[in-house]
Amino acid sequence: MRGSPLVRALLAFLIIASLGWPLWQLTRPEEAAATAPAPAAAPEKKAIELHLTFTTVPKSFVVRHLENDVWKETAPQADMDKSVTLEYPPEGVDLQFHIEWPADVPVSAMRAQLTDPVGDTHDKSLWGKGTTDDVLTFP
């Protein structure tokens, strides 16, 4: 074997170093950009029918969905209908009801019938006096 040991060591080092780069490229942890997950497509807005029946006519009521007022009445009647457009996923919806009942009346009831986008009707009730804040889940 000819040549200086120092030169041979240097050559060996250069060979190993030149292999290091492709090796690191192959084995390094993937630096995938931490992008936020694509949001699931929001469910399409669809028309539903709401039919409310009160045993005592309230002073006022508000129906909310996802923090938005979808029906507000300041002079309601005992029996009311409304077509409402909102996102209606297969998992269903929560509707929040805020009802102001007349003073000095006993506990009163409200029946809510919701006809969903495929035409099925779901029936829920709530009771209260004074001020009622409640959530009904459909279906």
Binding site: A32, P37, A40, L66, E67, E87, E91, D94, L95, V135
Partner: protein, 293 residues
């Protein structure tokens, strides 16, 4: 005169210690039940909470001093549903004459995979994540205390009624808060399968990352499945209970870009705002709504 004064002092000492001695001695192995016993029993009970807030009840093992205390207890409260694997040891080692009540056995169980043996299905012990179950637990504790001290029955009934009214208010608050979150976004990716009762009551689906603890490495298939769920369902956040295996968490967040939400209280009460049941529940609901909305 000296004898008289000594006798008087002894009598006074006995009188001063009498109220403490009269208290019902309760031992509890659940932070939730410790609070219930304190609230329902009021100043008529002396409650020892053996499992402290922040301690993992799955890993807890009673020490000799615990066994000594429960040997003297009149009422021993256990979470049950196999949470306390040492219950047989307690009965055997202490020979307690007190009433050992497995509170969770008073309501129906959900099933979950055993963390130690995933092929085995066991009762889910995390019943307190259903407020309705906690209300039943309050009634169980009220009735057990009344059996021990019928004379204090009215006090226990009043205290229980006050707390039950607060739990009813909590239930209304939870419904109102969760109404802000669309039902199709109610997907919880958690590090520990502890929220099935919460999910059942509130329309959530749970995807547990079993094995995120350092002691239990999840398979790459399991991690891949979770990544697929997060991507396909558009899940916005994951809820690690404790980040003991950061590599797994890093892999999931790197692959999906999903954010890591603040910690949920899965196994009982915590510190600060979460040191009460109502505070713990509000923390969990607020954290979930804020992260997934």
């Amino acid at each position: 005169m000296k004898t008289f004064l000594l006798s008087l002092a002894a009598l006074l000492a006995i009188a001063a210690s009498a109220p403490a001695a009269d208290k019902i001695r309760v031992s509890s192995f659940s932070t939730i039940l410790t609070e219930i016993a304190q609230l329902v029993g009021g100043d008529r009970v002396d409650v020892t909470g053996h499992v402290k807030p922040g301690i993992d009840p799955h890993e807890f093992e009673p020490k000799p001093e615990d066994l000594k205390i429960i040997g003297n207890a009149q009422l021993v409260l256990l979470s049950a549903k196999h949470m306390e694997s040492y219950v047989g040891k307690l009965k055997e080692a202490t020979g307690t004459k007190g009433n050992l009540v497995e509170v969770g056995d008073n309501f129906a169980s959900l099933k979950m995979k055993s963390e130690k043996d995933p092929d085995k299905v066991i009762e889910d012990p995390h019943w307190w994540h259903s407020i309705a179950n906690t209300e039943k637990a309050v009634k169980v504790v009220r009735d057990e205390l009344t059996k021990i001290s019928p004379a204090d029955g009215k006090t226990f009934a009043d205290n229980a009624a006050n707390y039950l009214a607060k739990l009813d208010e909590l239930q209304k608050w939870v419904k109102s808060e969760l109404a802000k979150l669309p039902r199709d976004k109610r997907k919880l990716v958690t590090s520990h399968d502890a929220f099935q009762y919460f999910a059942r009551d509130n329309g959530f689906t749970i995807y547990p990352i079993e094995g995120i603890s350092s002691a239990d490495q999840p398979s790459s298939k399991k991690v891949g499945d979770i990544i697929s769920v997060i991507k396909s369902q558009g899940v916005k956040a994951i809820f690690p209970e404790s980040i003991e295996n950061p590599k797994v968490l890093q892999e999931i967040t790197r692959e999906t870009g999903v954010k890591t939400a603040p910690e949920l209280y899965a196994d009982g009460l915590g510190e600060g705002d979460a040191s009460t049941y109502i505070g713990m529940y509000k923390h969990n609901v607020t954290t979930i709504v804020d992260a997934l909305k």
